[in-house]
């Protein structure tokens, strides 16, 4: 009985609260009713797929970061940053590395890099670059590294 009472009370509180929150009081006379709606922002960002760098390749296409579709607020943007240690680690001994760099057509990608998109179709092409000296110095074996793309919905910087 006590439990039933508790449940009923909770249910009543919930319902009452909901009704109160959305209630519109009409004491008489002219009243303005504000109609509001909201459109949720949505967007799709594509990032490069897993890539194998051919041995001795100085520059390899990594793919693109692209704002494929977007419905953003006017003062908002989609920002993509990249996190990586920029070393390909040997699968047996991760202290043995091949340094690499990521580059756009205009600049190097580093910790300070951020690509900001506001319109669908905007994209940045990335390349993986390894110098010949680093290839020559590399020990035999398999190497790998994970690049993390951080995608955020941010205020547009004007």
């Amino acid at each position: 009985m006590k439990k039933l009472l508790t449940l009923a009370l909770v249910g009543a509180m919930l319902t009452a609260t909901g009704i109160t929150a959305f209630a519109v009081d009409y004491p008489g006379g002219t009243q303005n009713t504000e109609i509001t709606t909201s459109v949720e922002p949505t967007f799709t960002v594509t990032v490069p797929a897993d890539t194998t760098v051919p041995f001795n390749a100085l520059s390899t296409e990594f793919g693109s970061v692209e704002l494929e579709s977007a419905r953003l607020a006017p003062d908002k943007a989609v920002q993509v940053t990249v996190t990586s240690d920029y070393n390909l680690n040997n699968s047996i001994d991760d202290t043995v590395v091949i340094p690499y760099s990521l580059n756009t057509a205009e600049e190097a990608v580093d910790a300070d890099y951020a690509a900001t998109f506001t319109t669908a179709g905007e994209k940045v092409d990335l390349t993986i670059n390894i110098t010949q000296a680093d290839w020559d110095a590399a020990a035999a074996g398999d190497y790998g590294d994970t690049v993390t793309f951080n995608i955020a919905y941010v205020d547009e910087e004007l």
Binding site: A133, D136, G141, G144, V147
Partner: protein
């Protein structure tokens, strides 16, 4: 004690929905970069008009060596021939040939060693620059001097202008001097330039971050949490009072 638990529960109910509502809309997606560095290098030998020896044994057309090793070859022209040009990885290394011996730099990639001969006594043609640059610079100069200088061979660096150049090197293999490393590795990027097109709502592999107008939802969550907490406290207080009575 029970009151404290109730208060904690109420605070928890109040806070947790709020934190969720204001969570930063950031998503992360990873891509893997991988590569394989071979343990060996192949050297392809081209020597028409003579032979190339290593450790006094004639080399095959191809030899496989451990990477970053250094090798010395003895270039021995046929009778009546002499060395006209030596190309290693497409680079003219004729000047590095001493008494018929050539020592490679440390091998880092597949290479081709091509020796071009001319009739003994014919003038040396001006050495033209290779059409294709080698993909790898030598990482070290040869350190080992030839151990068995062949003093019987004529010095090919001394031109004899009295004879025309009638024995031109085999020009039918113009590409043979190109280093093998110029060939693209067959393990091309799996999806170079491709993109992950997964959409946010339907896939775990999503690259999409969604945000919305959270004001209304947040207010409703706060009100609801408050109401539930209050109701819970009241009910528990009542039940406790009854128990004490």
């Amino acid at each position: 004690m029970k009151k404290i638990a109730v208060m904690l529960l109420a605070v928890l109910l109040f806070c947790v929905p709020c934190m969720t509502a204001f969570a930063a809309p950031t998503e992360q997606k990873g891509a893997t970069i991988s590569t394989t560095v071979p343990a060996t290098c192949d050297i392809t030998f081209i020597s028409v008009g003579g032979r190339i020896e290593e450790y006094s044994s004639v080399v095959d057309d191809h030899e496989t060596y451990d990477r970053r090793t250094v090798h010395t070859y003895h270039i021995i022209p046929e009778e009546g021939k002499e060395i006209a040009k030596v190309l290693f990885g497409g680079e003219d290394v004729t000047s590095q040939v001493k008494d018929g011996y050539f020592t490679t730099p440390a091998l880092t990639t597949d290479m081709t060693l091509e020796v071009i001969y001319k009739d003994a006594g014919t003038p040396v043609e001006p050495v033209s620059e290779p059409t294709s640059e080698p993909t790898s610079e030598p990482t070290s100069e040869p350190t080992s001097e030839p151990t068995k200088p062949d003093t019987s061979k004529p010095d090919s660096s001394k031109p004899d202008s009295s004879k025309p150049d009638s024995s031109k090197p085999d020009s039918s293999k113009p590409d043979s001097s190109k280093p093998d490393s110029s060939k693209p590795d067959t393990s091309t990027p799996e999806q170079s330039g491709s993109t992950d097109t997964s959409t946010p709502q339907s896939s775990d592999n999503s690259d999409t971050a969604k945000t919305g107008d959270t004001t209304t939802a947040t207010a409703f969550v706060i009100i609801t949490a408050t109401a539930v907490s209050a109701a819970f406290i009241i009910v528990l207080a009542k039940s406790r009072r009854k128990e004490t009575e």
